[in-house]
Every structure is written in structure tokens, then in C-alpha cells.
């Protein structure tokens, strides 16, 4: 029983670490050609890094049929747009100051982040 309890608590710790504490690496946006694929309930890459102070374009390719994935919101930038299925959609980002900008679907089940440095 002791072992099971410890295992259970370890599992909880793992959940906390994996989903909240761990920060995965950001995909660098080298050129203006990054495509974020929307598939299977996720954005990939979901974390991207762009330099501050210059406008940028990011492209989305939605392959996910779920209607949830249709809407893209970047609340801090007041961007909301619809992503067509199986078609590239370009989102124009204004020049941004350093910081973290979340993007997500309407229900926040699909989540991503733009880090501006």
C-alpha cells in the first residue's frame, strides 16, 4: 500500500511538472516561413520565438477537422481569425515588444505561445 501511495503521489508530481513547470524549447523563427501545423489537438510547433520590434508573418496549416481548431485567437494582439481546413493561412503579426503572447483556440484546448525577444 505504501508503494502504491508513493507511486500515486509521484504521479501527481509528474503531472504538475510535465504540464505546468516544464518549459519546452521554442522553435526559432528564422525566416518568414514558419508554418504551424494544427493537427490532432495541438499546434506544432506550439512555442515559437520571434525577434522584437519587427512585424512578422506566421502561417498556419490546419489539418484538424475538429471545429474547435478553426478559430485562432491571439488576445494580446487582438487577433482572431478562422483557419481554413487544409489551406495555408497567413497571420500578420505587428511589431511586438518583448514578452510572451499566447495563442489558442476559442476553448484554450489548443495552446501555443509566441516569445518575443
Amino acid at each position: 500500500m505504501m508503494i502504491i501511495n508513493i507511486a500515486g503521489l509521484a504521479l501527481i508530481a509528474l503531472i504538475v511538472w510535465w504540464f505546468w513547470l516544464y518549459k519546452p524549447k521554442e522553435a526559432e523563427l528564422g525566416e518568414n516561413d514558419l508554418v504551424i501545423t494544427v493537427e490532432n489537438g495541438t499546434y506544432s510547433p506550439s512555442r515559437i520565438k520571434v525577434p522584437a520590434g519587427a512585424p512578422f508573418e506566421i502561417k498556419f496549416m490546419r489539418k484538424d477537422q475538429s471545429p474547435c481548431s478553426e478559430t485562432l485567437l491571439i488576445p494580446e494582439l487582438q487577433i482572431s481569425d478562422t483557419l481554413p481546413l487544409n489551406k495555408l493561412k497567413t497571420i500578420q503579426l505587428p511589431a511586438m515588444s518583448s514578452g510572451e503572447y499566447a495563442f489558442h483556440c476559442q476553448m484554450q484546448m489548443y495552446r501555443g505561445q509566441i516569445t518575443v525577444k
Binding site: 501527481i12 504540464f19 516561413d33 490532432n40 495541438t42 477537422q65 471545429p67 487582438q78 476553448m107 484546448m109
Partner: protein, 774 residues
């Protein structure tokens, strides 16, 4: 930035029309127009050169540049599109005119994709339930599905493998999605479903394969739960998809207003062309019963046009040469020719569609808490599931393992982040669409929410309460002047001004056939009047304050002015060489339905305040006529925003309504700025809400829609909160110690599947909302 228009991957062919607009009449003779073609069959980068040179070889083509990544080529020059396509085909590729963000096609494509997805979900649901339902019935008839003998083990192994088949066929998207988001360090609804159904299946398989690992009493299998849950959730998703389709009805209707073709006159020939190919300044013919294809200005003919689809105004509007027509409206009676002034994405209709779409996707502040919760929801539920399992294992009755597995599975399955996440956006979607149908354009979710809380409404007088088209009613002359002479001087003085009162005087002079002279040294004195020189005389035209400042003797004209003002007329003093020459009174009639609309606002408990630059007496008279108790008179344009602030200081949530041009600062500072449109002019940046129709009923409609939407959102949020807050502990088994109640995972699956459907359905109820006039 790249110069091609790449938005939405659908390059626009209107990109170059701006260069074309200035010399349009030469377009076919050789001035630059750029067109975009979509190229098919270009597989390698070397095709680029071939296509470009084939296009450049056409006479009239100045340049052709291909964007290989996008498979588009932009052609600068005057050659017709057909010729360009032929040249590309001659080079061995296919080309299409690339369309400007074709809403219609995008919509059709989306519906096709949705339908395919719906069919897939239904198929998956059928397979899953055709295993799940018999198993369920068996479990109910036989009781617990336990594994004791070897024969049973083999039979259950077969069922377990069938269930695995269902998981792969019907539930693959959950597992793949769960794994993908897990890799991304995120968790979503898929994670919960995959974990819940996976736990039930793995446990059952352990019981089948290595029963001795599990206490004898706990040797149950839960294959029916796995199959049923997958089937029910697929069904829920399919029904939700259907219901979601209905939430976008309003935008579909708007998109459907767009005509597909236009009949343009080029080189004296009438051509039917696709709407995307209409250029600025093209002359377009529209016959009775046809839709106006693009925005324009009538150059020939007269007709009545039904603009109700855009403005909500039921009466057809008379149009003649010089009047504007808007895309999507319907020509009722006559045949007209008009010149295209706005095409493609720039038409009022396209802008409305764009604005409604944006607003539908934006979120009012009320949804923010749900967003915060959603962000932490799934991992928290996972933790609750673990805690619940541990609690059962430590303190639960035998078979503790079975209880632990059931409760963990049920917790994972019942929790529904979707219902919470859908609560706000679905209602906003329907509410904003509904408003648009009534000719009310709401800029974003925040405006929608604030509009529902408005306690005070400031109405600008001119053009908002009144028609904004004043007429000269009285000319009272002083001394040696006669009416003709006064009007001639006054009209000359005002001929350059665009102030509505000035225009009334100019019009009145024109009506009497008075010719105006020459004006010099024109000087506007903001909020007071104007000054200028005509025929060597210094003219001063304005209010009493201005006259007093210049120490002009007014005598008993002050009383006459007061009498006029009491009749809701605006008297203005006219002085020549510092001597009073006349009072000219102008009146601006109140709009027919203003009184009823104001009553509606007041009936809803809103404090209505009128604001005007006019003198007190006129303001008082108009306010009285309109049924308004409070008013601010003699307010200078730059003071309007101060009045808004004053009301805000009193603790009111202030709506400000004006024409959106002169009132921009006041509209911006108000909690909600309403711009009252003149028909189909939608590009009013300073306004949170634009009323397409001139009527103040739009104001009451806007507030009513926003109230109904907010109420709907609250119902949804409340429902979703309660569902999760009550459902999760129930699933974990908190009621078990008291009532011996434990939720079945299958019921949890059904509850979860239908909770989000309920939210969407409730939002859809808003479609039946009707604003009540009168």
C-alpha cells in the same frame, strides 16, 4: 514585407486596382493593372522562368513575377485575363484567376469538410455503440462481468480485442490527439478521454491475462464502458458539429447576399463577368430584381433599392444619379448604370462580413475566468483522478481496486472542459450575428458586454435624434435689409461650409433662385459661428454669445430669437459691418421614430440625455418634443467628451451616440460609442457599435441583443461550472460513504458528451431573439 497580398493564402486580384483607378478609362488602352493567377502543375522551380517569360511575351504585359511557394503569379499590364491564361497553358501549365478571398467558396468548402467529419463521427459512433450496447445490456442482465473460469477468460479476451478494434477505429483521434498534446506538454479533452477509456481497458485486460494480480472480488472487466464512452462522445461531437453549424447562420446569410456576377460595360460592350473581376470605376448595369454586385455611384437611371438586408430598414430607398448603392442590396424597380467605387474586400458588405466574423471570434471579459480555468483544467482533473483512486485504495471497501479504477475512470470522463470553453464563444457567435441581422454591427465582445450594462445614454441632437437636414424656417430682417439680400449674403458667406446649418441656408437661397457672390477672409469661430468678407462688407453669422462678444446691438431681436427657439428652431444672428441685419432660423425635424425609440430606452431604465451645440431654448424645445428630460445645450464640439466624463463620474455606464465623425472623441471616451450610420457607411472606426440604420431603434435593439446574449452566456457558464463542480466529486465517489452512490463511467460518458451539446443548443436559442419595436 513582401509586396504580394498573401493573406489567407488566397491572393487578391484587387491588389493593383489602386494604381488603375486614376487612369481607368485607359485601362484597356494600356495603363497598369495587376492581376494574379493561380498556377497549377508547376512542380519545380525551373517552371518559374518559363511561366514568367510566356506571360511577359504578351503585348501589354509589363512584368510578371511568380511566387513559387504560393504557386501564384502577379502580372502587371493591361492584357485580358483570358489571354494570360492561354499563355500559361501554352507553356504547359494550368492557370486560374485567383479569387479575392472568395467567401462563398470558403463557406462551401467548410460545409463540405464539416459534413465529411460529421459522417465520419457517425460511422465511428455506430461501430462503437454496436459493440458497447450489447455489452451494456449483457452487463445489466447478468450483473457484474467477472472473470472466474478459463472459458470466461478466453471469451473476454475476444471481447477485449474487439474493444481494442473499436478504440482504434472509432477512438483513434482521441488517442493520437492525447499523445500529440502530451508530447507538447499540454493536455486537452482528448487526454481525459484517452486516459479514462484506456485505464478501463488496460485494467480489464490485466484481469483477463493475469487475474491473480487482482483480488478475486475485483476481477471485473469494463470493456463495455470503453466502447460506450467512445461511441457516446463521438455522437456528442457529431451533434455538436451540427448545432455549431446553426450558430453561424447569420454570417452565412450575409455571405449569401453577395452577387456572383456583374454586368459591366467595357469598350461599349456589356460583359457578364465574375464579381472578383470588377475593377474600380467600371460601369455596371443592374436590372430590376437583380442584386447590386459592388458598391458604387449611380450615373444613369433611377430606381428604388431594398437595403433592408444591410440596414434593417424595411422601406426601399429611392436612388438617382449621384446616389450611392451598396453591394448585396436588391434593385427593385428601375434599370440603372452605376460606377464602381468600392470592389472586392472594400465593399460595405465585405467589410460588414469581416467585422461580424471578427466580433464573433472575440471574447467578452466575462469569458476570461472560464479561460483561466480551462488552462489548468485538465491536469487538475488528472490529479483529482489520482487522488480519488488513492483514497479508494486506502480507505475504500473491498474490492478497493475495482472502486479505485471505476472512480478514476469516471472522474476523467465526466470532466468536460469543452462545455466551459464553449459557453462564451457560442453565445457571442449567435448574438453578434443576430445583431448584424438587425443592422447593428458590434465591434467586439467587450463592446457587447458593456452595452448590456449601459445605464445612461447620451444622444447627440443633430443627425441622431433629428434628421440632420435642417431647413430655413424664418428670416426676420432688421433695418434696411430685405430677405433676398440677407439670404444672398448669408448663402455667399456659408457657401464653402459643410456645416448642416450652413447647407440649409445655401439650399434655401438656391430654392429662391438667389445667386451667391464671392467670399474672402472666411474664418470659422468654433462653436460660435463664422466671419467673412463679401462685397467689401464684414459679415458675422452666429449665436448670441458671438454677437455680444462683438458688442453688436441686438435690441428686441433677443426676444424674437427666444420665441423661435421655443418652437425648437435654431435662430442665428446675422450682422453686416457690426450691425444686426437679420435673424435666420433653421429647424431640423425630429426623425419619425426617435420618440418611440427614446421611450423604449427609458422604459428599459436607461437615463437618456441629449447633447447639442444649439442654444438652451432650442435644445429645451427639441428635448421636450422627443420626450427627453435632461439635456446639455451650447456644448462646444470639444466639450462633448467632457460631458461623457461628467456622467461617468456620477457612476453611470455611459453610451454615447453620434454620427461618428464629429463626435469621434466623445464616442471613444464613452463606455460604449454608438455611431449612427447613414445607410451603408460602415467604416466608422471610433465606434464600438455601428447602427447601419438611421433609426434610434437600432440603439434599443443593440442593448436588447447584448443583454440577451450576456444572459445566455451566464446561463452557459453557470451550467458548465455547476456541471463540473458537482459532476467531478460525484464521479470520485464523495456520495458513496453517505448514500452508497457511485456513478457508472458510461453515464459519465453520456453526461460529458451532452454537456457541451447543451451549451451549443442553449446558445442557439438566441437565434430566436426578437427585438421589440414600439
Amino acid at each position: 514585407m513582401s509586396s504580394t497580398n498573401t493573406e489567407s493564402g488566397n491572393p487578391s486580384c484587387h491588389e493593383g486596382t489602386e494604381t488603375g483607378q486614376h487612369h481607368h478609362h485607359h485601362v484597356h488602352g494600356g495603363s497598369a493593372v495587376s492581376q494574379e493567377l493561380m498556377i497549377e502543375g508547376a512542380g519545380c522551380a525551373s517552371c518559374v522562368g518559363k511561366i514568367e517569360s510566356a506571360l511577359k511575351a504578351i503585348p501589354g504585359v509589363e512584368n510578371a513575377e511568380m511566387n513559387f511557394a504560393q504557386r501564384t503569379v502577379s502580372v502587371l499590364g493591361s492584357a485580358p485575363a483570358e489571354q494570360l491564361i492561354k499563355a500559361v497553358e501554352g507553356a504547359g501549365y494550368n492557370a486560374k484567376i485567383s479569387l479575392a478571398d472568395n467567401e462563398d467558396d470558403a463557406l462551401a468548402e467548410k460545409e463540405k469538410a464539416d459534413w465529411a467529419y460529421y459522417k465520419r463521427l457517425m460511422r465511428e459512433m455506430t461501430i462503437a455503440l454496436s459493440l458497447g450496447v450489447p455489452l451494456m445490456i449483457y452487463s445489466i442482465v447478468v450483473g457484474e462481468m467477472t472473470v472466474t473460469s478459463t472459458g470466461e477468460r478466453i471469451a473476454w479476451l475476444a471481447v477485449g480485442l474487439l474493444t481494442l478494434g473499436v478504440m482504434v477505429f472509432s477512438g483513434k483521434h482521441f488517442y493520437v490527439g492525447a499523445w500529440q498534446s502530451f508530447k507538447n506538454h499540454s493536455a486537452n479533452m482528448d487526454t481525459l478521454i484517452a486516459l479514462g477509456t484506456g485505464t478501463a481497458w488496460v485494467y480489464s485486460m490485466v484481469v483477463v491475462f493475469v487475474p491473480h494480480l487482482v483480488p478475486e472480488m475485483a476481477r471485473h472487466v469494463y470493456f463495455e464502458a470503453t466502447a460506450m464512452i467512445i461511441g457516446l462522445i463521438d455522437l456528442g461531437l457529431a451533434l455538436e458539429l451540427k448545432a455549431r453549424g446553426r450558430t453561424s447562420e447569420a454570417i452565412k446569410r450575409l455571405i449569401g447576399l453577395q452577387a456572383k456576377t456583374a454586368r459591366v460595360i467595357r469598350d461599349d460592350k456589356e460583359l457578364d463577368i465574375a464579381i472578383e473581376q470588377v475593377l474600380l470605376n467600371d460601369v455596371v448595369r443592374v436590372r430590376p430584381g437583380e442584386k447590386i454586385p459592388v458598391d458604387g455611384e449611380v450615373v444613369e437611371g433611377h430606381t428604388a433599392i431594398d437595403e433592408s438586408m444591410l440596414t434593417g430598414e424595411p422601406m426601399p430607398v429611392e436612388k438617382a444619379t449621384g446616389n450611392t448603392v451598396a453591394a448585396g442590396t436588391i434593385n427593385k424597380s428601375g434599370s440603372i448604370l452605376f460606377k464602381a467605387t468600392r470592389v472586392g474586400k472594400d465593399t460595405a458588405l465585405a467589410q460588414i462580413i469581416n467585422m461580424v466574423k471578427r466580433a464573433q471570434n472575440s471574447k467578452p471579459p466575462i469569458g476570461r475566468l472560464a479561460d483561466v480555468i480551462s488552462a489548468y483544467f485538465v491536469p487538475v482533473v488528472m490529479i483529482i483522478a489520482v487522488v480519488s483512486a488513492l483514497t479508494w485504495l486506502n480507505f475504500g471497501p473491498e474490492p478497493a481496486v475495482a472502486f479505485a479504477i471505476v472512480s478514476a475512470t469516471t472522474v476523467l470522463i465526466i470532466a468536460c472542459p469543452c462545455a466551459l470553453g464553449l459557453a462564451t464563444p457560442m453565445s457571442v457567435m449567435v448574438g453578434v450575428g443576430k445583431a448584424a441581422e438587425a443592422g447593428v454591427l458590434i465591434r467586439n465582445g467587450e463592446a457587447l458586454q458593456t452595452a448590456s450594462k449601459i445605464t445612461a445614454m447620451i444622444l447627440d441632437k443633430t443627425g441622431t435624434i433629428t434628421l440632420g437636414a435642417p431647413k430655413v424656417t424664418d428670416v426676420l430682417v432688421a433695418g434696411e435689409y430685405d430677405e433676398q439680400a440677407v439670404l444672398r449674403l448669408a448663402a455667399t458667406l456659408e457657401s464653402g461650409s459643410e456645416h448642416p446649418l450652413a447647407m440649409a441656408i445655401v439650399e434655401s437661397a438656391q430654392e429662391r433662385g438667389i445667386e451667391t457672390g464671392k467670399v474672402s477672409n472666411f474664418n470659422a469661430i468654433a462653436g460660435h459661428g463664422v466671419q467673412a468678407e463679401v462685397d467689401g462688407k464684414t459679415l458675422l453669422f452666429g449665436n448670441e454669445k458671438l454677437m455680444r462678444e462683438r458688442t453688436i446691438e441686438l435690441g428686441d431681436f433677443v426676444e424674437m430669437a427666444q420665441a423661435l427657439a421655443a418652437e425648437a428652431k435654431t435662430p442665428m444672428y446675422f450682422a453686416v459691418d457690426n450691425k444686426l441685419a437679420a435673424i435666420i432660423a433653421v429647424a431640423d425635424p425630429i426623425k419619425e421614430d426617435s420618440i418611440a425609440a427614446i421611450k423604449r430606452l427609458q422604459h428599459n431604465g436607461i437615463r437618456v440625455v441629449m447633447l447639442t451645440g444649439d442654444n438652451r431654448a432650442t435644445a429645451k424645445a427639441v428635448a421636450k418634443k422627443a420626450g427627453i428630460k435632461e439635456f446639455f445645450a451650447e456644448v462646444l464640439p470639444e466639450e462633448k467628451s467632457k460631458k461623457v466624463q461628467e456622467l461617468q463620474m456620477e457612476g453611470e455606464v455611459v453610451g454615447m451616440t453620434g454620427d461618428g465623425i464629429n463626435d469621434a472623441p466623445a464616442l471613444a471616451i464613452a463606455n460604449v460609442g454608438f455611431a449612427i450610420g447613414t445607410g451603408t457607411d460602415v467604416a466608422i472606426e471610433s465606434a464600438d457599435i455601428t447602427l447601419m440604420r438611421g433609426s434610434l431603434h437600432g440603439l434599443a435593439d443593440a442593448i436588447a441583443v447584448s443583454k440577451a446574449t450576456l444572459r445566455n452566456i451566464k446561463q452557459n457558464l453557470f451550467g458548465a461550472f455547476i456541471y463540473n463542480v458537482a459532476g467531478v466529486p460525484f464521479a470520485a465517489g464523495v456520495l458513496y460513504p453517505f448514500f452508497g452512490l457511485l456513478l457508472s463511467p458510461v453515464i459519465a460518458g453520456a453526461a460529458m458528451a451532452f454537456s457541451s451539446l447543451t451549451v451549443v443548443t442553449n446558445a442557439n436559442r438566441l437565434r430566436f431573439f426578437k427585438a421589440q419595436e414600439h
